[in-house]
Amino acid sequence: MIWRMVGQRLALGALVLLAITVVIFGAIELLGADFAQQRLGQSATEETLAALREQMGLNRPAWVRYGAWIGGAVRGDFGVSMANNRPIADLMAGRLGNTLFLAAFAAVMSVPLSIGLGLLAALWRNSWFDRAANVGTLTAIAFPEFFVAYILVYLIGSTGLFPTLASIPPGATFLERLHVTFLPALTLTLVVTAHMMRMTRAAIVNLLASPYIEMARLKGVPRARVIWRHALPNALSPIINVVALNLAYLVTGVVVVEVVFVYPGLGQLMVDAVRTRDVPVVQAAALIFAAVYVILNLLADVLSTLSNPRLMHRR
């Protein structure tokens, strides 16, 4: 039963992913400029334009080009950049890894921190800690990423402990990478932790109002055990959702942070491509970001289904 539900979710996720490719492709069809025109500039003659269109396959019907695009994307072939004619796959190769590395680094720092703090805030509800956390997180949520980033650059960059330009030297070891990406990762951590902590707290506080929590206390269960044994197993599902939501947020938050720290990631590449209106690159980057986002949300969906006792143990 439960596995059928998981199967359904996975199938739905695949469907969403497919629909997203249609949206991305369709948007370009509807709004996109003429690739050939852009490539050759205004001075191009009709003949050269037609020849290039023919060569790029722009004369084929939309669904054929869509099929070709998807077919290529599945094999890792995203076509060539309009700006420099290099294969997009080569441009993105190392960058996707860098971006995921940065996001993972931030996640490793922020997830335990925010869940821990959220639990404490829920446990000590309405204490000075809770109030300070409320004001603090509300403030942090309101900060644009680049504000947090530049504050860190100003504060920590001046000490020289960590580099403010996160360029990765070739052949860098794991530790060197951690050192170089520390400031961007810390920026992301600060931004996401506030969100995640508030949502964790809200999920727990919501649960603490349940009759079964009161029942546990009326059985003489101590406070810590109430949280640990009675609230947490039920909070698992909402917390997983909170984490996934924020990890998905990390994936986009990374774009701005990469630009601030000049980090060679996918976000940086995409922003550059947007500026030069290099449509194939933007298209490919958008597809990859969207895919990561959808997969994370899907993962959360499946995990929270699996952690819900009512769904796990059906009648």
Binding site: Y212, E214, M215, A216, K219, G220, P309
Partner: protein, 538 residues
């Protein structure tokens, strides 16, 4: 039968926070309980009975506090005792059984794990002993499959069984005192009787003291040695059960007793054609069939009570008639003409002919509209009136429902009591000048005295306006009070039908018999009698 003094609550005051202020919930109540004794705590909603019951455990809910008084349990004042001491008592020497077992069991753990938690944690029993204890208690609570049921999760067990499992859990450490907080209120009558019997037997056998909280006099009569009546946080009176039932001293208590006295004179059977005909209606939600072949008639000036337990399809029948749930087969006729299955396809005249009144007055009035608009809109909408005419009609409607127009016309629903809200929704229905009134459990959420007022009002309006009323209820006392005809439903089918006299006079249909015999009566010997009779027949 009474042993030494176990619980001594003196001058207990409890307050609840409302904004900046503390409002009294319990206003100086004394309560004494001896070992092995069962005290019934009775009162209407807002009487403070649950709050007082929890205070007996030294426990207050968030946002409330014990502002004065002592709660002495076996020699120690729980109000001043440290929290660790109170925690040591809870679940071990004082246990609690909540109203909704479904919500009070943790969905993440198996029943037996929740059973074993208190005895193992308090060091009363080892895990193995606790599990054996659980099976023993499950058996004594007459739960099916006592060895296996503990290894299920709460959502895999029915409501009545959960309530018994929760009572078993409360007995885990053989406590000196159990607080039962309306343990059967959420259950159907036929389930309630089993749970009541199980609870009473186990309390008798174990000799534990108990506080039994309920709003149902007939229930408390079966369970308690003594009864204490509360009203808005004050004690009204207290007496041994038989004495209290035979001769209540206070006027308020007598009014509680007298509530079921309203009885409408029976009407002669109607001769003319029915106003509403339900013909072989079947309906469902998607693939799930809820109604099977339901038929009955409704006549002008008559009331048909549709009775059944939850899930019997009585409200669904109302929704089919109103057109909210189109029938998959069969038809509904109003004044002889078939009407469209969906309300969306019905013309205004047919819509106004049938008016539905919902159970919960809280959700049936728009909280942002004043009474003037709530009643004025249907008046303007149906009768096409405007301006001063609407106002005059609204005032007339308010007088019909016995609310003073000047003081009520500009109120918001939030400024009305539960009974007044239900009256306003009645007036909204009347504004359409309907032929048929469908009342869906309209008195169930109300306190008995208030409900009584609504029933009398309905009765008067029916005579004045010659209304046909379909009255849906699960409460047989209400049926006795107001019905001309009765339709008994079970599992989406009509199982018994006839005039009130037909249905209520033996020999009964077996299910009607079960329903009738399950309704608690004031007589303290009722439960024993019913159980004996059933045992004899089995």
């Amino acid at each position: 039968m009474a042993g030494s003094l176990l619980l001594d609550m003196r001058d207990v005051h409890i307050e609840g926070r409302s904004g900046d202020a503390w409002l009294p919930i319990v206003k100086g109540v004394d309560l004494q309980l001896h070992r092995g004794e069962v005290l019934g705590l009775i009162g209407e909603s807002g009487a403070g009975k649950s709050t007082l019951g929890l205070a007996a455990m030294g426990y207050v809910r968030g946002g409330t506090r014990i502002s004065r008084g002592e709660v002495t349990f076996d020699g120690t004042d729980l109000v001043t005792a440290p929290e660790s001491f109170r925690r040591g008592l809870r679940g071990k020497r004082i246990a609690y059984v909540a109203q909704s077992a479904a919500a009070s069991f943790n969905p993440a753990h198996k029943l037996i794990d929740q059973f074993c938690e208190a005895p193992v944690m308090h060091g009363v029993l080892g895990r193995g002993e606790a599990e054996r204890q659980a099976v023993d208690l499950y058996r004594r609570m007459r739960l099916p499959d006592p060895e296996g049921i503990g290894f299920r999760y709460p959502h895999q067990v029915s409501g009545g069984q959960l309530q018994r499992a929760m009572t078993a859990m409360a007995m885990a450490c053989k406590p000196d005192l159990i607080i039962f907080d309306e343990p059967t209120t959420a259950l159907d009558v036929t389930t309630q009787i089993e749970v009541l019997a199980a609870i009473r037997d186990i309390v008798d056998q174990s000799g534990t003291a108990a506080i039994y909280i309920t709003h149902d006099l007939a229930v408390v009569a079966q369970m308690a040695d003594r009864i204490k009546v509360l009203l808005r946080g004050d004690e009204v009176e207290e007496a041994p059960t038989r004495e209290m039932l035979a001769s209540p001293r206070q006027a308020y208590t007598r009014s509680l007793w007298a509530v079921r006295s309203h009885r409408r004179p029976e009407q002669p059977p109607a001769r003319e054609a029915p106003v509403l005909e339900v013909r072989a209606v079947s309906a469902g939600y998607g693939a799930v069939k809820v109604l099977h072949d339901v038929s009955f008639d409704l006549h002008r000036g008559r009331t048909v009570a549709v009775v059944g337990e939850s899930g019997s399809g009585k409200s669904t029948t109302a929704r089919v008639i109103a057109g909210l749930l189109p029938a998959s087969r069969g038809e509904v006729r109003i004044e002889g003409r078939p009407v469209a299955p969906s309300f969306k396809a019905r013309p205004k005249e047919e819509l106004r002919a049938v008016q539905l009144i919902h159970q919960s007055a809280d959700t049936s009035l728009n909280p942002k509209q004043r009474v003037r608009e709530i009643l004025g809109r249907p008046v303007a909408f149906y009768a096409g009136m405007s301006g001063a005419k609407v106002e005059a009609r609204v005032r007339e409607l308010l007088r019909m429902i016995e609310l003073e127009p000047d003081s009520f016309i500009d109120r918001l629903p939030g400024e009305l009591s539960g009974g007044q809200k239900q009256r306003v929704s009645l007036a909204r229905a009347l504004a359409a000048e309907p032929r048929v009134l469908i009342c869906d459990e309209v008195t169930s959420a109300l306190d008995q005295i208030v409900a009584e007022g609504i029933l009398k009002l309905l009765d008067r309006l029916q005579r004045e306006l010659d209304l046909a009323i379909m009255f849906i209820t699960h409460d047989l006392a209400t049926v006795r009070a107001i019905a001309d005809g009765v339709v008994v439903m079970k599992g989406g089918r009509v199982v018994d039908e006839g005039t009130k006299a037909d249905v209520f006079t033996p020999p009964h249909h077996p299910y009607t018999e079960l329903l009738l015999s399950s309704v608690p009566e004031m007589d303290p010997g009722w439960l024993d009698r019913v159980l004996e009779a059933r045992a004899a027949r089995a």
